[in-house]
Amino acid sequence: MTRYLLTHQVKRIYPSQDDLVNDWKGLRRRGTTETRWQRSLYSAATKRLYCEWEAPSPEAIRACFLPEELEMAPIERVEEVVFLDPAWLDESGSAEAR
């Protein structure tokens, strides 16, 4: 499955913890076996939310969102990405160092 990184500009956040958590749970449930929200990183300084998805296409990801969610945190960018794990460097690097 292709991995995508979505950048959201967070314009508005639910003031209630329950509303926020329920909304995010809903988004998670709207995913399918093929289209899954994997993890997110949030920058309070820039009000950007970076979300990793696995999906067959960007359209499949957009289809998971409610209109209100896209109004509150519009998607600025969708990029196809690959995962690079720096732990691999430790394993290969230790042999080279010797």
Binding site: I13, Y14, P15, Q17, L20, V21, W24, Y42, A44, K47
Partner: protein, 140 residues
Amino acid sequence: MNAAFPSQAWVEALVSVLNADERYAQIARYWEGDLLFVVKPDGSGGRSESERASHVYLDLWHGKCRSGRYVPPEEHDLPKPAFTLTAGFGQFQQILQGQLDPMQAMLTRRLQVAGNMAYILRNVPVVLDFVRCCRLAGVE
């Protein structure tokens, strides 16, 4: 500095840390909002558990703690703060010992928040640095 959590000694230790910590003063310089920890005894979480909860009140204002006090379970005269954070003793302990990320605890409702969640998310660095100071105050 290791006082039992929650207790008046722990609150006093935390207030001292908050008011002496330059990093907290800088990061929280715009923060306005007092808060109340509601520390429920671990167990069923039913009504009687809530009634036996103890409380910690902290008046946080622009990078300083203007006052703080421990409110034991038998005292019912509770302040009305901007934020109330409720969890079982074990969950608070995990957060204070660095075993549970506070933001993760909020987003999974293990730490219940009454108050403006949007304000908290806009001030994530303040929350994280406040928890760092709580850890400096020690947990016994």
